[in-house]
């Protein structure tokens, strides 16, 4: 009886371990978790990979410097991807069933300026050796061109788009994933995007304000701030809210456990962090970075030189400038709303969505003036 009890007990204790023993013997899931060693944070990561893929699969296309001899050609790669190489005519040629379904799965390579017909779904990547005009009301998986890319009205880019020159996006288009350019990006009102990267990014149809000048004269230098919890070198840690009066100058980094409000025309020679929301009145200059655990609202003609990061929403009004050509930077938040007339240099990255809007009345506005 005791032996039976011992055996049953052992079985009960061993049973939960049996799947483990099996996995230990087979080792079907024993490799280290994947860490992408080659990921270098480059926003053009996919475009670079795509270009390498094309060079590998279309050796003759890329090795011929003079593309005059490139003629229309169709075929299929070893992996089953159908492709079309487009010569001087600059227009893809679709089969009737593609026209009927308004859908093509072909990889398109343009040797010259490429123009895409409207109202189509381009399910595979498109490459342009020169320029690409996307047409209107198209859905496109991904685009890359050595020259300019023009995204027409009402288009959706599903994965990424990259131009080695400039990228322009017309109204009511939506860029999911990454949009990058080596020179500049211009994105019209009523467009939305997730991630933009270029040396110059212009928003909307308004001519951007010229480079803002730091106005240091006539400002009142701040030497005391109430409720200082800790102060070390340049960093002031403040318990509660910070209210910087208009036309003030502060040399140092500010950290508040509460909200931060910076008055019009003020100049902070350092970085600012709010653990709640942040509001910058018109014409504020921040030489460092801005961080907020909530929202950041920048009124007109503000200039921030360093990264601008909010854990909720960022609203940037007309005439504001983020970064500079010499010091490109990053704007990042869950939601970003940018008004026409804003200029940014570097990356604008919304985890959810970013919108280009006409005026701030339509935007989220939380921090009381």
């Amino acid at each position: 009886m005791i032996l039976l009890f011992i055996i049953i007990t052992l079985i009960i204790f061993t049973l939960p371990l049996l799947p483990g023993f099996a996995e230990l013997a087979v080792a079907s899931d024993a490799k280290p978790l994947r860490v992408i060693q080659e990921y270098d944070t480059d926003p053009k990561y996919f475009a670079t990979g795509f270009r390498l893929y094309l060079e590998k699969n279309f050796d003759s296309f890329f090795s011929t410097r003079d593309k005059a001899g490139v003629k229309f050609q169709e075929g299929e790669l070893a992996n089953g991807t159908k492709f079309q190489i487009i010569g001087k005519q600059g227009l893809p040629i679709f089969e009737q069933k593609e026209i009927n379904s308004a859908d093509t799965k072909k990889l398109l390579l343009g040797a010259f300026a490429l123009t895409l017909p409207d109202n189509m779904f381009y399910e595979t990547e498109i490459y342009g050796y020169e320029t690409i005009k996307s047409g209107n009301n198209n859905r496109l998986r991904a685009l890359m061109a050595e020259g300019d890319i023009e995204i027409g009205k009402g288009c959706n880019i599903l994965r990424w788009v990259h131009s080695n020159a400039s990228l322009s996006v017309k109204e009511e288009s939506h860029l999911y994933g990454r949009a990058t350019a080596n020179n500049s990006i211009t994105i019209a009102e009523s467009c939305s995007f997730e991630r933009l990267n270029a040396p110059i990014i212009l928003f909307g149809n308004v001519e951007p304000a010229r480079e803002l000048e730091h106005k240091n004269t006539g400002l009142t230098t701040i030497t005391e701030i109430p409720n200082v919890k800790d102060r070390y070198e340049r960093r002031w840690l403040i318990d509660g809210d910070i209210h910087i009066k208009a036309n003030s100058f502060f040399d140092g980094d500010l950290v508040a456990t509460g909200n931060v409000v910076i008055g019009a025309g003020s100049h902070i020679k350092g970085s600012v962090k709010s653990n709640q929301d942040m509001y910058l009145y018109t014409g504020v200059t921040i030489e460092g970075s801005l961080f907020s655990a909530g929202d950041i609202h920048m009124e007109t003609n503000c200039h921030v030189n360093g990264p601008v990061v909010a854990e909720d929403t960022i609203l940037i009004e007309s005439g504001s400038r983020i970064g500079s050509e010499a010091n490109p930077t990053t704007v990042s938040a869950l939601f970003i709303k940018v008004m026409s007339g804003v200029v940014a240099h570097g990356t604008i990255w919304a985890d959810e969505t970013a919108d280009v809007i006409r005026n701030s009345a339509t935007a989220y506005k939380k921090v009381a003036a």
Partner: protein, 426 residues
Amino acid sequence: MFVLVLKFTLFVIIGLILVYTIRHYTFTLNRLFGRQRHPYINIDTASWPNVTVLVAAHNEEAVIENSIEALLRVNYPSNKFKIMIANDRSTDRTAEIIDDFAARYPEIIKVLHRKENDHPGKASALRDATQYIDSEIIIIFDADYIPGLGLIKQLAAPFFDPEVGLVMGRVVPVNTGYNLLTRLLDLERAGGYQVDQQARMNLGLVPQYGGTVGGVRRAALESVGGWLEDTLAEDTDITYRTILKGWKSVYQNHSECYEEAPETWPVRMNQITRWAKGHNQSMCRYTFQCFATKKVSLSEKIDSILLLGVYMMSPIVMLGWTIAILLFYMGENNLLVGSLALFAITAFGTIGNFAAFFEITSAVHLDGGKKRVLLLPFNLFNFLISAVTVSIATIAQLLSGANGCHPRTWVKTPRFRDNNFVIEQE
């Protein structure tokens, strides 16, 4: 009276276990269903600050070459990037290897050779080397770590936030499939980083700087007087001293780097003994300060105090078991009676016992793991061995009297791989 004391102690211990159980569940549920915070990971373009990667190396001839080569490949502006290697009294070929690299890359690599009579230990090596570093950000790696191309930028990015004093990335075991121990440690590390650390980050608590794959702001370090030489766990020590000064520590779950997990149980026990002693040392030093400080929020206070107590819980649980058995044989097992006892035992049996396991399974789920979770029941043995090891370490530390909070010995974890190692990924 004696029985009363035993019963009271047991209730206190049960209360503490309950607190830590709730803590496990809070972290895991937050990680599964809460809002996830990764505020700095999107910063890919910026005017990057000057960064020095500091590597403390003690007899690392087997691995240091790989590590330096990986560091030389990283994507960071070369005019803002330096590597400082503190050769900590190595007796193998480490000095020769790093001198060779320094001769080839004099603009990037600086070397500090510590002498035989210098104070031993990583904290001392870091302290000495930091004197020769002029950059505002110091990123610290162990000599066997192989960073990916973008890792330095990812670890530097949070320092644009003027509140951040410390940054910690995620450590991923590279030798997962070697044996049962490495597979169990892979699960344990996943729970610790993927759930514990990220939940702390999400909840605005105190993610712990772990001593490697992390960084420290020079101003934060200087504001607390630099690295302390007499600490066994310089990572825990610097975490507490900086947060007590009002700096934040942050965790970057996507900033991952491979590490080598111990492959034998004696090495693992030595490692956890050192961690326990170092952690307990910090507990002695900083628990009261955590209660008293006005520079951190209430939730940060609670989290930091509970974090300080994690290694002390092993001997406390052991004590609880002993008291419970003692009371049983003394015929005093009447603490809870009737349906209340049934309810309490059932509740703990179905929920409480599994808090740590729930954390690990959630981590495996978040990592996209499949069959590795089948090894979960074996972790019972791992936990048991760890609990006994930590208890012995803690009791030994307590018995050493006044020196209990000031241990002076430091045991380096041996390396198992060499420079010819190839990463086999999932």
